[in-house]
Amino acid sequence: MGTLWFWIVAFMLTVYTVLDGFDLGVGIVYLLVARTEQDRRKAMHAIGPVWDGNEVWLIAGGGTLFFAFPLLYASSFSGFYLPLTIVLWLLILRGLSIELRAHTHDKVFASLFDTSFALSSAILAIFFGAALANVVRGVPIGADDYFFLPLWTNWRTGPNPGILDWYTVIGGILALLALAQHGLLYLSLKTSGDLNARTTAWAKKLWPIVLAVTLASVPATIIARPESLAHYRQHGVAWLAPAAVITGIAIIAVSLARGWEWRAFLGSCLYLAAMLVGAAAGLYPVVLPSVGTAGHDITIDRALSGPHTLHVGLVWWSFGITLAIIYTITVYWLFRGKVPEHAAGYGH
């Protein structure tokens, strides 16, 4: 039961990353590739009807984590208090920027919201990457199963790490680059003309960099958390994840060369999903590793809710998530195809 719920939560957070990842990515590259008012409207139009639904995967995933693993939710959310609160502020800023951008006809304000949209998206990507890296590296859990992480200390991993150290910064940069690539490929899929040409050109430059940082993250992880290698050795199937990561990048590279927009985007989806699944596999059956000596790893078994909760949970969750997937597919289908060349602003 515990393993099942571990993968359910991992699944929801992976879907969140793949879906919201592209609209965050559009934000990251927005100022870079969307130069004219027309381009910016098109870029906004490409994510307008879907970004809110994408974000729901985070909320629903968080809720599922809450009831399936209350201890994990309690310990990690209070321990990461400050960075999480900053994430919330950034989410507010970003949501508003998108909305207000659509409502304003004033050039000065439009460029203000453009900038806040791009900045909040980029910083969010860095935070998400760093957060994941924190979980992989481990946190100084105390005897009472709680911890509190300062934002930074001496930038070193070890028994008293901060949210930001050399390892988690790599995580943040990798997330920034990977989501930027995801956003570029999505935009090239959804647009035509100049914007399409520019996004494709940038994507071609970016993929080797993403590949290089991805490869660099492997020895970094082994240094920061040697146990992850042992986890991989124990569970042979886990090696499929890194294999899929490499396949994903290969698909992107080949598709970009041939001009296959769809396949390039799907390659990027595969890459992101495999990265997350790989991280989860490296943790399993731990959900929050401990560094230092005071406390113990938080494992699936320790964090798990009572059996009845999980049994009924499985019933409604399967039902509800099926509906959610149907809605998601329907919305994407209704707004399929490229954004029209002379798109008016997205807005209500």
């Binding site: 809110d52 809450f66 693993f69 507010i92 807005g347």
Partner: protein, 457 residues
């Protein structure tokens, strides 16, 4: 201030702010369905067009409030973990369930169908567009239900057991969802949301009529607002408010004593209409009372004894007694005013003179902030009355907060939210005001080519 107090203010401020948006969207969603239904069913071409435009206008306002509801709602979901970690650890197996269901069952549904409602009018058939509006309504009302189930469990825990590791678990899923407290609270709360929606719609209509512009829409809005208003204002007091009070007297008698400012038990207890509680001397200053009414309202007889605060140990008293007393009286006082105003308006509408009776249109226009105050006061009553318990009878508020998050850190993020939300308030007012100024006929921009139709507010 100590960490506990700051965490409490943190939660209270962010939730009170969040609820400004859902109370309107939940009420408005219903009224939009009403307008879309009229448009769908009429065979009169002109009337149909008018009601469609009328509904489209409110869908735009809905969208603005929806986005603000979303961005202020996400912090709520996170705050259980960040600020109330011990509470989350112990009760997550119970309250995490309805919270997760809210996400899975209603937020997906709402966001998908809202997209259709706003962008799909030209792409889908009329009945399907009506259906989109209907589903947005269903989604927002389901969302309200799950959140109330969560709160009701904290007010009146049912269907749980304590596991050996100190964590609570659900023993019966249906028991949790069928918590009688939840259904009573839900009925009262949703009726309150309809009041907010009705007052806002009616106020906009009254504004147009007073300004003598968009008058054909002004009439529709006043009509829809007043009909919905008169019904919901009555259901707010009877049966829902009445039931709520009686159920509480049974299960949280101490909170009722605090709400009513009843320091000493009394047979034939009076109802205090107005007054200022003096906790130190345990009296009410400058009281304005009606004899025996309280006993009658709770037990149906003027003789029954109502338990006062003196029946309970002092460390079980709700901490903020005066605030609890005022919140309750503000809610009930406003409720009385709402019924009177709406009844007069409905009477004049029936006589056919409402649209030109300025002395009623004026208060209709000016009263729209009051339901927000009444709803907030109602929640303050509920939440302050529950103190000092976080989960009534099971977990004290002082045991539930995040012990590792210091007072300074909590103050820092509280100030951050205060700043952030001040900016949000300004934007919100500007956006809604501009939409209302532009009126229902704001241009509909057609993106052409493939039928993407976008409306700009």
């Amino acid at each position: 201030m100590d960490a506990l107090t700051l965490h409490r203010i943190h939660f209270a401020f962010t939730i009170t702010y969040h609820y400004l948006f859902p109370q309107l969207t939940m009420g408005l969603a219903l009224l939009i369905v009403v307008m879309k239904t009229v448009a769908l069913r009429t065979s009169d071409e002109e009337k149909r067009e008018r009601y469609d435009v009328a509904a489209r206008f409110w869908a735009r306002i809905f969208a603005v409030n929806f986005v603000l509801g979303v961005v202020t709602g996400i912090p709520m979901e996170f705050q259980f973990g960040t600020n109330w970690s011990e509470f989350s650890r112990r009760t997550g197996g119970v309250i995490g369930q309805p919270l997760a269901m809210e996400g899975v069952f209603s937020f997906f549904l709402e966001s998908a169908f809202l997209g259709l409602l706003l962008f799909g009018e030209k792409r889908i058939s009329r009945p399907l567009h009506w259906f989109a509006a209907f589903m947005v309504f269903v989604g927002s009302w389901i969302s309200g239900f799950f959140i109330i189930v969560t709160d009701a469990w904290m007010q009146h825990p049912v269907a749980y057991k304590l596991l050996p590791n100190g964590v609570y678990e659900v023993t019966s899923f249906w028991g949790l969802l069928m918590n009688p407290w939840a259904w009573i609270q839900y009925a009262h709360n949703m009726s309150g949301a309809v009041i907010t929606g009705a007052f806002v719609v009616a106020a906009t209509g009254a504004l147009y009529l007073l300004q003598n512009r968009h008058t054909e829409y002004g009439r529709i809005y006043v009509k829809v607002g007043v009909i919905a208003g008169v019904i919901s204002c009555i259901t707010q007091i009877f049966p829902t408010g009445d039931m709520h009070g009686k159920y509480m007297a049974k299960h949280q008698p101490i909170a009722v004593a605090g709400m009513e400012g009843l320091f000493h038990s009394e047979a034939g207890a009076p109802m205090v209409l107005m007054g200022q509680p003096d906790v130190e001397n345990q009296t009410i200053d400058n009281p304005l009372v009606v004899n025996k009414v309280l006993s009658f309202l709770i037990y149906g007889t003027t003789k029954a004894e109502v338990k006062g605060l003196d029946q309970f140990p002092k460390n079980d008293w709700p901490g903020a007694l005066p605030l609890l007393f005022y919140s309750y009286h503000i809610m009930a006082g406003l409720g009385t005013y709402f019924v009177s105003l709406m009844a007069i308006a409905a009477f004049l509408m029936w006589r056919g003179t409402l649209y030109s009776t300025r002395w009623v249109l004026w208060p209709l226009m000016l009263s729209f902030p009051l339901p927000y105050i009444a709803n907030t006061a109602g929640w303050m009553t509920a939440e302050l009355g529950r103190q000092p318990w976080l989960v009534y009878g099971l977990l004290r508020t002082s045991e539930g907060y995040s012990k590792h998050v210091g007072a300074g850190t909590s103050l820092f993020t509280l100030l951050g939210f205060l700043g952030m939300y001040s900016v949000l308030s300004i934007l919100w007012i500007v956006m809604v005001y501009t939409a209302i100024q532009k009126g229902p006929h704001a241009p509909v921009v057609d993106a052409g080519h493939d039928g993407h139709t976008l409306t700009t507010a």
